[in-house]
């Protein structure tokens, strides 16, 4: 049996945290992701079933929601990404398998956990930071907004919620995205 040590997307054994001025950027490796895409003709049924899995209504256009255990954000019409806590010790918590069991033939479910890196950005002045990073209209990014955008040529999701902003970017470009966040923060503050 191999004895492999898990590494974060940035290559460390512990998540990286950087505080620059009033803003803290934290890598968050503890989230499992799965995409849910309603199949043809199943839009309404899938939206309803997803709401019952989440424990809150499925996110509408450009929204993100947080239920008791799972959260979700809107990716495209009748297409969402669901995120939940990632527990390496318990294979029973495999998120995509759980969703597939609940949604059946209503939706195509794909495990996305290994595809994305997540950075949580907290603090004051997030508008000044993100205006340097992407062309989203930060004044319109109220709590519960989720948008896809480009950050340094990388297609990323930016989620705005009460605790700050969350950025999901391509995991294979984690260091490039981290560099972009750090550089913009140093420029802003």
């Amino acid at each position: 049996m191999h004895d492999l040590a898990p590494l974060t997307a940035l290559g460390s054994s512990a998540p990286q945290r950087d505080t620059i001025g009033p803003v803290t950027i934290t890598e968050n490796p503890d989230r499992a992701l799965a995409s849910v895409a309603a199949r043809l003709g199943q839009d309404a049924a899938c939206t309803k079933a997803l709401a019952s899995v989440l424990g809150t209504s499925a996110p509408d256009v450009a929204q993100c929601v947080q239920g008791p255990a799972l959260g979700a954000f809107w990716m495209a019409q009748h297409c969402w990404i669901v995120d939940g806590p990632y527990d390496l010790d318990d294979p029973q918590t495999d998120l995509a398998a759980r969703l597939k069991a609940e949604l059946g033939d209503m939706a195509s479910v794909t495990d996305q956990s290994g595809a994305w890196v997540r950075f949580d950005v907290h603090g004051d002045g997030l508008g000044a930071l993100f205006e340097r990073l992407c062309n989203l209209d930060m004044a319109r990014m109220t709590d519960g907004t989720a948008r896809r955008t480009m950050i340094d040529h990388l297609g990323c999701f930016v989620l705005s919620h009460r605790g700050g902003n969350t950025v999901y970017g391509p995991r294979s470009s984690a260091q490039s995205l981290h560099h972009a966040l750090i550089t913009a923060a140093r420029s802003a503050f």
Partner: protein, 95 residues
């Protein structure tokens, strides 16, 4: 240039990629008797109007939707933006 996305509102054209004439969604039937001629027209023949033009745009850095954008090729004024899915459904395709 700003494209007023039907779902997401005004978006920078930088987020989109351009495909071409919106007639590309009307792919001919490859099994029909006149398929060869129809595909010749479909693949090679385009109008190149100086004025209003219906064209396909892909929201690559957004929600990955295909849009049918009506744009004036002289002034770049955009008069209508629809989801390509809705356009196809109006033609009786899909569900």
């Amino acid at each position: 240039m700003i494209i007023n996305h039907p779902l997401l509102g005004p978006c920078d054209a930088q987020e989109f990629t351009y495909l071409g004439d919106a007639r590309l969604i009307d792919r001919p039937d490859g099994m029909a008797g006149d398929a060869e001629d129809a595909f010749y027209h479909y693949a090679y023949l385009r109008d190149n109007p100086a004025g209003e033009h219906r064209e396909l745009w892909f929201h690559e850095q957004g929600d990955r939707s295909w849009l049918v954008v009506t744009r004036n090729t002289v002034t770049h004024q955009i008069t209508s933006v629809e989801l390509a899915r809705d356009v196809a459904r109006k033609q009786g395709r899909g569900v």
